[in-house]
Subunit: 202 residues, 2 copies
């Protein structure tokens, strides 16, 4: 307990942030009080406004400020006729940063996990079904995480897509990361990397 | 840039926290949006309220909600007739946790640093002068950080206290941390630890 109840409350509240424990929260609280009171008030206002105003895009379920996000709003994104399925909005940000994809996205906000009550409805799959039925896409790219749950979710969506005459269904490659040493990669990744080897010519 | 301007603003604002860079801020923003919107709104309100309401104790300059802090308000704290000088409110919290001090504190909120415009007035030394002149204290314990600036500040305050017939002026010990290996301690600490060795009997 510190000298101020408000300070104790602040230190507790800061710990809702992942990776911030008691010690970091204490350091942050003192730093803000000592040096950045005005910025901290602004952070407070931004937090409140963001939590109230950020919603999901009506088409792709990515976070956006309006009804439809910037990506779905961009007519050029429809040319490639590709739809990439990801688990979370941060995956969209990561793929956009890779600068190698010009199509559209669909964000699941999770993966199938019946034990936690996350089924097809929670992942917006009826909405995806509707989207696919409009015949806008030639390829569905499954970019769920390479985990048991992510793979199961990908299989489920592939089955759903098969009904809609999508020409190609693909899954992003797993394997040894570029620039990484083969001896640093875990067994399972390396096994999968060997299993999925590709023809190669110099 | 993400899909939402509000989200970009939030990610930037979160980075006023020390130790939180772009990557952590992004992770925190997505986590709050995905799972803890209500808690994040509450954090926003607590931040705003804390920055407006937390002030400095009129006597010791520690953070508090009222005019005088809990420690200065406690009559038992005056029995020991000791005053401990620290650089920051987090030092008070640390010493309180050590459970080995029952006296009062005075918080400088920094150390002398003429190059940054921090002089005696910024550290509240006129206020300390006034406090010492009331004859309430027999011992002044200097617990500034063992750095060049902290030591210079301690010397300055010792000179100030000498004017006020304080019986004892002491400085907390520096040396090898308890439970630490001597071979892990830096040269300067070890040199100081040897220089300040004490008589010992079994």
């Amino acid at each position: 307990m510190s000298s101020s109840n408000e300070l104790d409350k602040l230190i507790r509240a800061l710990q809702i942030q992942p990776g911030i424990g008691q010690r970091s929260a204490t350091r942050i609280a003192y730093h803000l009080l000592e040096r950045r009171r005005q910025d901290a008030v602004e952070l407070g206002n931004i937090l409140i406004s963001a939590m109230h105003n950020i919603k999901q895009c009506r088409l792709c379920r990515n976070y956006c400020d309006n009804d439809i996000c910037n990506i779905c709003h961009n007519p050029e994104r429809y040319h490639s006729r590709q739809l990439c399925i990801v688990e979370s909005p941060s995956d969209v940000a990561a793929i956009e940063l890779s600068n190698n994809y010009q199509g559209l996205y669909f964000v699941l906000h999770g993966h199938l996990s019946p034990i936690d009550g996350v089924g097809p409805n929670e992942l917006g799959l009826p909405q995806l079904d509707e989207l696919l039925s409009q015949g806008q896409f030639d390829e569905l790219i499954l970019a769920t995480n390479p985990t048991i749950e992510g793979d199961a979710t990908a299989s489920f969506i592939a089955a759903l897509a098969a009904k809609h005459h999508i020409k190609a269904i693909s899954k992003i490659a797993s394997g040894v990361p570029l620039g990484g040493g083969i001896d640093n990669v875990d067994q399972k990744t390396l096994a999968s990397s060997l299993m999925n080897r590709r023809p190669f010519s110099a």
